[in-house]
Amino acid sequence: MRVSEDSRTVTKVLNGDVNAYALLVKKYQKPIYNLMYRATGSKEISMDLSQTTMIKAYENLERFDQNRKYFPWLYAIGANLAKDHLRRTNREKRYFDSKYDEDNTIDTNTDTMARIEHKTKKSYVLEAMKNLPLSQREAIILRFQKELSMREIAESLSISVSGAKMRIHRAIKELRRILQKTDIY
């Protein structure tokens, strides 16, 4: 069986080489920070939550199964922290800014359409993503941007494989429903 680079690094850390942990932090700080930013919309809070994620992962490193991939395990810790934060602050539907209503749909009135007309398709998708629940948004990020397998997505989000498939299916469906209201899609 091939021993992953991450597993070797984890072994070093568990054997007392604390500096080796910096490799794991540097490697995965970007996706974790982006997860937090997508969830909170605040760079300051994202910084705090990212640090907490990395420290919590370090404290629980003995529980990490080295036959699995490190990233889904770390992501699951981060996703749980993000959910806890949103639950505490009750802000899930206001994470980026207040341009959108809280009914998860794009306002299709003339002013709003005029405002977004100049945007590219990517901008439309980004805007539409903001209306997805955190759980669905992270599922499609992991699937398409991080290219994780369904099993890894399930691990990352602490759900079953069938649950992960369902989330992605619903997220795509919801995105398309939102985008169909624009004249581009």
């Binding site: 568990l14 398409f144 290219e147």
Partner: protein, 188 residues
Amino acid sequence: MSEKKKKYDLIAILRNLPEIEPPQELTPLVMARILPKKLSFWSRIWSMARTPKVIKVTPYKMATVVMVVVVMLGVVFQYSTENTKTVIAEADAITVPVAFALYSKDAMSVNLIGSFNGWKPEGYAMQLDKKRNRWVIDINIPPGRYEYSFLINHNQAVPDPNATIYKDDGFDSHNSLIFISSNDERAL
């Protein structure tokens, strides 16, 4: 645009969604807040046991290992065989001196025959002790259970009249029985 094309378009965009860079101080801040792991001895053993290992084998290494194993097995086998032989030899070396005696006024010669010598009289001729008026012989035999008789004048086998136990020899006669233990020294 067809529905399929729209879907592929959407997935292509999702694959290339922009990400923001985390602040550079994130890693130093995390590292400043953690201390080296201090694991117990058993935790280290457990961690080592759970860590997958890569074993690389070359024909040269494999041949060396096979050779060492064969030599070790040979040494173990040799030692084991020698040990067994020693135990058997030691067991065989333990014999008990036993004296047999017979009174017979008509005998010209008496030989001792029994299961300890394959019922062969050669080499087991008894000597006449004139003082005691007895035919006697002293032999060393290993501990065990034996049948025996006295062969008088090379043609008549008679049981030991002083024996306490007899056994039917299957020819309308009896053999005497003797039980020798390792700490016995019997004079009959």
